[in-house]
């Protein structure tokens, strides 16, 4: 029981599924009493875990850096550690990221998501002779990476993108495309043409319909749809 006496029970309804024992998923209701200092949804989940240790979810940093506790919270993808308990409509309905294969409860299989990420070659490519010290950038060149490098690959955006739901195997999705643009716009990278050629594909890039769910939902306030628009414009420039 809470010592403060101000906190009330929070009712949370969680998607439960263990493929080894369950024929189909079910929703399980829990009442959890937050203790002093429990501000975020993840705090409540951690309390629940002490009561029911069969409940499975991922988490690590608990401060919006690792990207591992992405889930669908009351119909919207978000990070449990950045979602305040105050203001959440009850019962708080928690489901795994939509469109992703469920491994167990709130844990989804990210294999495909990361395959797309690796496919865009998420590293600097530069075959010119390396200078003695670092490759320098002007402040302006460095500024171009703002709004791109902060992505934590939580997959909130891709798992909220209808185009990604329909073609998760072929469409790179907003997260991968934002990352692709991060390297396209890097002044130190010399593979821009190859990167653009890879993306010039009816599936990889052009499944995006500018629905902008991605930008709307990103817990880091990044804008994948803007990055995608910039890739399209770069392709137009490239071809003309």
């Amino acid at each position: 029981m809470s010592a403060g006496g101000e906190e009330e029970d929070v009712r949370i309804s969680i998607y439960r599924f263990n493929p080894e024992t369950d024929a189909k998923p079910r929703m399980q209701d829990y009442d959890v009493m937050p203790e002093a200092g429990d501000k975020k949804l993840l705090d409540a989940l951690m309390r629940l875990k002490t009561v029911d240790d069969s409940l499975s979810f991922r988490r690590s940093c608990r401060e919006g850096v690792c990207g591992s506790d992405a889930m669908n919270i009351n119909g919207r993808n978000g990070l449990a550690c950045l979602t305040s308990l105050a203001g959440l409509k009850e019962p708080v309905v928690l489901r795994p990221l939509p469109g992703f294969p469920v491994i167990r409860d709130l844990i989804v299989d990210m294999t495909q998501f990361f395959a797309h990420y690796h496919a865009i070659k998420p590293y600097l490519i530069n075959d010119e002779l390396a200078p003695e010290r670092e490759r320098l950038q002007t402040p302006e060149e460095r500024d171009r990476l703002n709004g791109l490098y902060e992505c934590i690959l939580c997959a909130c955006c891709s798992a909220f993108c209808p185009s990604y739901w329909w073609n998760p195997d072929k469409f790179i999705g907003p997260a991968g495309l934002l990352q692709a643009y991060r390297f396209i716009s890097d002044s130190r990278d010399t593979a821009t043409a190859e990167r653009l050629a890879y993306l010039d594909d009816v599936y990889r890039l052009y499944r995006c319909r500018t629905i902008m769910n991605c930008t709307e939902v990103c817990p880091k306030s990044l804008s994948p749809s803007h990055a995608i628009e910039r890739i399209r414009l770069a392709l137009v420039r490239e071809s003309s």
Partner: protein, 114 residues
């Protein structure tokens, strides 16, 4: 084939959208200004060389724009090649047939009117 994939298709979709918008604006202007629409007015338009060419351009733009849009819907929702390929082929054929039909009709008038 590249014409209908990736970036080219995306550009074509936008370019044809602009063409269609211009036609829409022109049609609106025609309706607002000038005498009320009548068979005679349509006939005069379709039988003038400029009008005939414009009508063919309009249908060609419409078919191209429609093709990319419908193709996108098919690529999104229908994943079985056994359904997808015949369906895409059929849609392409119908669209091409429409444009050819319009072009022939327009041309036929000038042939006979000589």
């Amino acid at each position: 084939m590249r014409l209908f994939l990736g970036q080219r298709a995306w550009m074509l979709q936008r370019a044809t959208a602009v063409v269609l918008l211009i036609f829409l604006a022109a049609a609106a202007a025609m309706l607002l200004a000038g005498p009320p629409l009548s068979y005679e007015r349509w006939h005069a338009l379709a039988t003038s060389p400029h009008g005939a060419v414009l009508i063919v351009v309009l249908f060609a733009a419409l078919a191209l724009h429609g093709w990319i849009g419908i193709r996108d819907i098919v690529l999104d929702y229908l994943h079985s090649p056994a359904v997808r390929l015949p369906l895409l082929g059929l849609i392409a054929l119908v669209l091409i047939a429409i444009v050819i039909r319009v072009a022939l009709t327009m041309a036929a008038h000038f042939m006979t009117a000589g």
